[in-house]
Symmetry: C2
Subunit: 147 residues, 2 copies
């Protein structure tokens, strides 16, 4: 899907699996997920219903472990899309792993917490949750170069 | 496009007209604009080239004049989209106007400025600019109700 061009950065892999919404109106939801890291973002397709399933994988490279990934879930409208919740994932919390696991359910929160111009977390439970699988890929390139 | 259902809120109208990009690689740009107000957003179509033309109109209602509209310009990629620039428009700076005007060129900047968890402005010139026409629509509903 994305071929790394250098081996100086770490490859971060994130799989957006599915969500569970609590609201009664969740049956009418039509939602998608955006992933943002600094000034780049990517977006899943839009899926209907209270338990949408995306199973979409994203890869990116970074050499700055102090960053975090901002995950946003949006309900698509005819003109306006409405944010259902946010989750902030510090890259320091992500482990190296050769293979995908089953993922982990994370809670979506209503608001971003900022410090010094940057997102540092989220607050305010929404009851909605999202199943993500995040990992850093082991640096095969570096190992191969040593052999 | 959007029929107001109450007359307690003001109707804010924004027309996203066109952009001019300075970078040499602008010829390969494929860009779209997002408009965000609190937890709602809307997005233009994606248009190719260094001087894209959208001419898309958006309407929304608000009763909180202390808010601001965050305008983001994104360059669409195969997997990742990259932010080209931002502009923050405080609603207090928007006048009442019955008709659309020719609009106003605004400068896009590289970074958001935050205070207390909210965007308050932008900083860092990019050289890119965007032609917008923003206005509050006069409250015809209220006037009619008085007649």
């Amino acid at each position: 899907m994305f071929i790394p061009t250098t081996y100086t950065d770490d490859t971060f892999s994130i799989s957006v699996k599915k969500a569970r919404y609590v609201a009664i109106q969740g049956t009418q939801f039509n939602t998608y997920v955006t992933l943002k890291l600094q000034n780049v973002k990517s977006t899943t397709v839009t899926v209907k219903g209270p338990t949408p399933c995306w199973e979409q994988d994203f890869l990116f490279e970074t050499n700055d472990i102090s960053l975090g990934l901002l995950v946003e879930v949006w309900n698509k409208g005819v003109i306006w899309d409405r944010a259902l919740g946010y989750h902030y994932l510090p890259l320091t919390s992500v482990a190296y792993n050769e293979q995908e696991s089953g993922g982990r359910w994370i809670e979506l929160e209503a608001q971003l917490m900022m410090r010094g111009g940057a997102v540092v977390g989220t607050t305010g439970p929404t009851g909605h949750s999202l199943l993500l699988d995040c990992r850093f890929e082991p640096p095969f390139g570096k190992l191969l170069a040593l052999n």
